[in-house]
């Protein structure tokens, strides 16, 4: 039954359940934190994305077994995430970096 995957301990149901409850808790935390007035909207956004990032890491790392895969797979995903971030931030920068005399609205 072994298709060459990582040792049986990685399949422990207990581990998966732990991740599951962590994800549920994270969801509750996200909702609760979104109502805390931190002062600026940016901080709310940062907090929400941070929690989402942790949840994503849990799903990708444990449910999708990324944490036990070899370099090849997470190199591919690493480059992908890098390009996505570049797309977003470079485009954002490009659309908001205007010559000094430009009227934007």
């Amino acid at each position: 039954m072994n298709s060459g995957h990582s040792p049986e301990s990685a399949h422990s149901v207990r581990g998966y359940l732990f991740v599951y409850f962590a994800l549920l808790a994270g969801t509750g935390l996200t909702v609760w934190a979104s109502f805390i007035p931190f002062g600026s909207r940016e901080i709310n956004i940062a907090v929400a994305l941070l929690i989402a990032g942790v949840k994503a890491f849990l799903v990708a790392g444990y449910f999708m077994h990324l944490i036990s895969e070899r370099k090849m797979i997470y190199n591919v995903m690493g480059f992908t995430v890098f390009f996505f971030i570049s797309l977003m931030f470079l485009t954002l920068y490009a659309m908001h970096d205007f010559p000094p005399t430009t009227v934007t609205h």
Binding site: S3, G4, V13, A48, L49, R70, I73, M77, M88, M95
Partner: protein
């Protein structure tokens, strides 16, 4: 010559072919949703005002719980197969499919709600906003006949409709308002055409929902007729469950970001 590594993993990469393939496909999906998320960020940063509180948070939270649950049942279904427990696999993936249906049901309800929610620009410059109760039989916007009844309220300026979490807005009494067609300058519901927020909301969640449907169809097939392969080639079947599971987890991953971005922020 047969194609190697369809079931056994290749020693130096550690994966079998289909797993390599699905991860590559998921990389392209990251870029697809990444393009849409970038569009969201750009449209929002470039906007003067951005809606807040337009979506039902308890429903969105419920949907998040539903998808996370379906994620763990997906993993447990695969584990069951690795432990040779076919009936447990069937049970867990049945729950996965029920969760998928649940998610789509809640989403349809939310979509319907948006299509029933109207904003009317009145001739006197004010705005009426609310859910449609009914239209009179002779209602015709072109000919200016008949009337329309909303369950909502009136505001002086459109910008007051943007942030629905403000205490002043939450305290407004929503009541039945009947508006004759002659007083209506413009009428539209909160579909994708309403503003860029609804546009990106429907596009992002719509594309995500299509992925939910696609994933559910594949898992449904493997649960049903496709499960015959368990008898003839159990390892290959287990790998198919793993690969389809990876896609399903990805769908959950996208929602993990969609929910706070669209509902909470």
């Amino acid at each position: 010559m047969d194609i190697p590594y369809t079931v056994q993993p290749r020693p130096d990469t550690g994966v079998y072919n289909a797993k390599m393939g699905i991860w590559l496909f998921l990389a392209s999906e990251v870029m697809l949703f990444g393009g849409l998320f970038s569009a969201y960020v750009l449209l929002r940063v470039g906007a003067d005002v951005w809606p807040y509180g337009w979506l039902n948070i308890p429903l969105g939270t419920a949907n998040t719980f539903v998808l996370i649950t379906s994620s763990i049942t997906t993993v447990l279904a695969w584990v069951a197969l690795k432990n040779n427990q076919f009936s447990r696999f069937k049970l867990f993936h049945a729950i996965t499919l029920v969760c998928a249906l649940c998610f789509l049901g809640i989403k349809s309800f939310e979509y319907h709600d948006k299509f029933m929610h109207y904003e009317i620009t009145l001739a006197n410059g004010k705005f009426a906003d609310g859910h449609l109760i009914g239209k009179s039989k002779d209602f015709d916007l072109e000919k200016k006949t008949g009337s329309v009844t909303l369950h909502g309220y009136e505001v002086d300026q459109e910008v007051e409709l943007m942030d629905l979490q403000r205490p002043e807005v939450r305290q407004i009494q929503r009541e039945e308002i009947t508006i004759p067609a002659v007083e209506i300058k413009k009428m539209g519901n909160y579909g994708p055409w309403h503003n860029t927020y609804t546009a990106i909301y429907f596009t992002l969640t719509g594309l995500h929902a299509l992925h939910v449907i696609g994933g559910a169809l594949v898992i449904g097939f493997l649960w049903g007729p496709g499960s015959r392969m368990w008898k003839t080639d159990p390892e290959r079947f287990t790998n198919r469950i793993e690969v389809s599971g990876l896609f399903w987890h990805f769908v959950d991953l996208i929602w993990i970001f969609l929910f706070p971005v669209l509902y909470l922020l």
